[in-house]
């Protein structure tokens, strides 16, 4: 039996400078593990650096000597990735790196001698094919879907015919307790007593993909793919049996397809409403009377809306073509329905000035008069590899020289370089 250990290397402790959210599940890796299990490859473990220390992860690798070690990669935590693949490669495990952030930089990642391969896009088919081949003693990598790898001479990137995106409707429901995976520690991890101390939260997805073209976004799924509404309903029902009362839907744009929401709402009406509140990403352009009514029927408690900036021109330049008035009307609809809004902004967009920052502040304040905001999020712009904004960066010769290779960057320095070249912040005489 081929043994596989999958590691979520996106930790959010102090050194990452990010928020500590240990309730948030490594859904992608659990989906792959469930998929392998359903195909008969049951020796798959999932570890999560948000809960498992690096020492625990590396000692598990050394003890169990898995045939395959897969690591989910994120630019905010490259050191952890490097440490895990070094240990795994050293004992002869085949190493695979994957995830949203890995896809646009597979060639850069493969420059690390401890990384044998990189999965681009979804990982289910790639890991199944690898595991199947390894179980037959076949270590050839040619033709494995979605797999970039290297030979002694060169790096091989998957051709278009080798790219495969699974039909989400065919995937089994994610097993959140697969092979002893400790789901309970996630259920106990909600720590925002200022918002809702009794919340038992988890994450799930119903759809993947977004056809929008925001310049700061590095999302790779441009086509909307959907799970069947029946499976979504069943999963929510099962989560309720597990004590979950709040689900964060990680879809890029939950309300993009009103027909889909309508089918789900029909299941609530015919099979019974579920006592689980939802929190979902919604694009302001998808908010109308129909979608708001459907979200209300689905017990959506809060939506996260990426508004990005209070300046209309700047918002348009960065890929979101709507006015502040239409935004306020849309948010007013949510407010009227009693759905809270987590308004989210990006500070330091290309073209940002002192005046546009002020516009953002004023819009955020104004929004509170049309809906109940909760958790207004001000994010500092980070150019992500694979996004149009990253491509902007690569057009500056000095920055291309600095960031054109490798995958380990000082995020603060990267941000500063971006602001210096693409924002215009007047330097005053204050000191």
């Amino acid at each position: 039996m081929v043994s596989t250990l999958l590691v979520q290397a996106q930790a959010t402790p102090q050194e990452s400078g990010l928020r500590d959210e240990k309730w948030y599940l490594p859904l992608g890796l659990l989906s792959i593990a469930t998929y392998l299990g359903s195909a008969g490859f049951s020796d798959v473990q999932v570890l999560d650096a948000d809960h498992d220390s690096l020492e625990k992860i590396t000692s598990r690798i050394l003890q169990e000597r898995p045939d395959i070690v897969g690591v989910n990669f994120n630019v905010f935590n490259t050191t952890l990735l490097d440490d895990v693949v070094a240990v795994a490669h050293d004992i002869g495990s085949f190493t695979v790196v994957g995830g949203q952030a890995a896809t646009p930089i597979s060639d850069r990642l493969l420059s690390n001698q401890n990384i044998d391969s990189v999965v681009v896009y979804d990982g289910e088919e790639a890991l199944l094919e690898l595991t199947t081949r390894f179980s037959r003693g076949n270590r050839a990598l040619e033709g494995v879907p979605n797999l970039a790898y290297k030979t002694s001479e060169r790096i091989i990137l998957p051709s278009r015919k080798d790219l495969r995106l699974p039909n989400l409707a065919d995937l089994p429901e994610i097993d959140r307790r697969i092979n002893g995976f400790d789901f309970d520690r996630y259920l106990k991890a909600w720590n925002r007593s200022d918002i809702d101390p009794d919340r038992i939260a988890t994450s799930m997805y119903t759809q993947k993909g977004c056809a929008k073209t925001c310049t700061f976004c590095a999302r790779i799924d441009k086509k909307l793919r959907q799970r069947s509404p029946e499976k979504v309903y069943d999963e929510l029902k099962n989560l309720g049996r597990d004590g979950v009362n709040y689900v964060y839907v990680v879809d890029d744009t939950f309300a993009a397809d009103p027909q889909y929401l309508g089918e789900l709402a029909t299941l609530y009406a015919t099979r019974g409403a579920l006592p689980i509140q939802l929190w979902a990403f919604v694009d302001a352009r998808d908010v109308d009377d129909v979608s708001v009514d459907l979200m209300k029927r689905l017990n959506v408690e809060k939506v996260l809306v990426g508004i990005e900036t209070g300046n209309e021109e700047l918002r348009k330049k960065n890929g979101k073509m709507y006015s502040n008035n239409s935004l306020l009307r849309a948010m007013g609809r949510l407010g009227g329905a009693g759905i809270k809004v987590e308004d989210s902004y990006v500070l330091g967009l290309a073209g940002e000035t002192d005046a546009t920052l002020h516009d953002t502040f004023r819009l955020a304040q104004k929004l509170t008069s049309v809906c109940q905001t909760e958790g207004t999020a001000y994010n500092i712009m980070t150019p992500l590899i694979g996004s149009p904004d990253w491509n902007r960066l690569m057009h500056i010769p000095d920055l291309k020289k600095k960031y054109g290779k490798g995958y380990k960057f000082d995020i603060a320095e990267l941000r500063n370089d971006y602001f210096t070249h693409f924002c215009n912040f007047d330097q005053g005489v204050l000191s």
């Binding site: 990010l18 928020r19 002020h358 955020a364 304040q365 602001f419 330097q427």
Partner: protein
């Protein structure tokens, strides 16, 4: 009573999403907190101007802190990658 250890301000005050603390005085050792409705506050040109020698990132970070402080119900915690 829970309190903010740095300023010795009751946490219940800090958790009030609508009001901002604009001043703290200590009278007889007890904190007297001056609050203002966040919506009554606008930022001045001095707040939104990069100081001499201040890096663009330091400026944006400072502006972010101001926005968080003066926006009702803003999320005070660090950014997330969700």
């Amino acid at each position: 009573m829970r309190e903010d250890k740095e300023n010795k301000v009751p946490l219940e005050v800090l958790l009030d999403g609508r009001n901002a603390i604009v001043g703290i005085d200590y009278v007889g050792g007890q904190p007297q907190v001056e609050l203002r409705d966040k919506l009554s506050i606008d930022l001045s040109q001095y707040d939104l101007q990069r100081m001499e020698g201040e890096s663009p990132l330091a400026y944006v970070t400072r502006v972010r802190e101001l926005f968080v402080k003066y926006t009702p119900n803003a999320d005070p915690t660090p950014e997330t990658l969700r």
